[in-house]
């Protein structure tokens, strides 16, 4: 259900960097812990992006696994369910190493061809 708001944030970020140019492709980097449903995000991005420079852009999502580090033994492991407990040390402080990303990684934009040459001399 949060995908709609996240879509608005993505579209705003993408269009800011597009600087008026048409966007053809968007690459996102999203951590597993963000609980983002990709199909829903794609659906909303199409709606929110309509009539903006990123209308019709294709979407690519780089999925970042959830990796934790134990503060006590420095052990690192990947989780598939929300269990933030070290298997060796038991309940205690663990840090999230990756999995909380919510980044616009890159965009592909259309440029005027040889813009430099067509500039008035």
């Amino acid at each position: 259900m949060h995908e709609f708001d996240l879509s608005s944030a993505i579209v705003a970020t993408v269009n800011k960097h597009a600087e008026g140019r048409r966007v053809t492709h968007v690459t996102l980097r999203i951590g597993r812990l963000r609980q983002v449903v990709k199909d829903t995000l794609e659906f909303y991005l199409a709606i929110v992006g309509k009539d903006t420079p990123c209308e019709g852009a294709t979407l690519e999502i780089i999925d970042v696994p959830a990796v934790l580090v134990c503060d006590t033994c420095q052990n690192e492991w990947q989780i598939e369910i929300p269990a933030f407990i070290c298997g060796t040390c038991g309940p205690g402080a663990v840090e999230v190493k990756t999995g909380e990303e919510f980044m616009v990684e890159s965009i592909e934009v259309e440029d005027e061809e040889d813009a430099a040459c067509t500039a008035p001399r």
């Binding site: 949060h2 980044m103 592909e108 259309e110």
Partner: protein
Amino acid sequence: MHRTKVRVVEDALDANNTIASANRGDFDRSDVTVVNLMSAPGAGKTTLLERGLEGLAEEGLRVGVLEGDVQGSFDADRLSVLHIPVVQLNTDNGFGGECHLDANMVRSALPAVPLAELDVLIVENVGNLVCPAEFRIGEDSRIMVCSVTEGEDKPLKYPLMFRACELVVINKVDLLEHLDFDVDRLEANIRQVNHHATVMRVSAKTGEGVEEFRTWLKDLPARVAAEAAHDHEHHDHADHEHAPA
């Protein structure tokens, strides 16, 4: 036409976080500690405030409430008997509004909040277990209220929310005798996703555990200041280590 790849590498929530930092600056300048209070709809946020904030001014803590709601001023009206500053912030466009508060909405409401008269501002977020966890509003601390009518597995279903808070208030414990609810299991599930959180068992209705909540709130400004001083010291130390010889 020719296509260019533009490297962005920017958190998509940066725009919100920038405004949250501006809010934080305003709060810090007025020396106000800000709490983001979150829960599912109906968990008892407003009842907890009604009971928990009563008479706190006489005990030396000046608290105000920024009341976020999809629609109406029902909650603000309920709190008006406390005779503390309460500001209503609706996310409504006429037919129901946003499911959460973001930094910009809070910013738009700030001119109405008498920051200079407050020690603590509690921002009561819109009832929702998902979206409010995504949007920082410039708060110092986050409280989540969950009630014993919601199910023991909620921390595992909404880890983003449960991981984000410093205090989890388990509310409506007066109902436990009528329910098939294992409150120890709920607490174990909270621990599984958030080892750091303080957990309290409260009945905002009977008043059980409310004193503990009030104490937590009264101690909060000093605790936040101590953490900030510690972070600052740590930061200075790190700067020093990296300074050229």
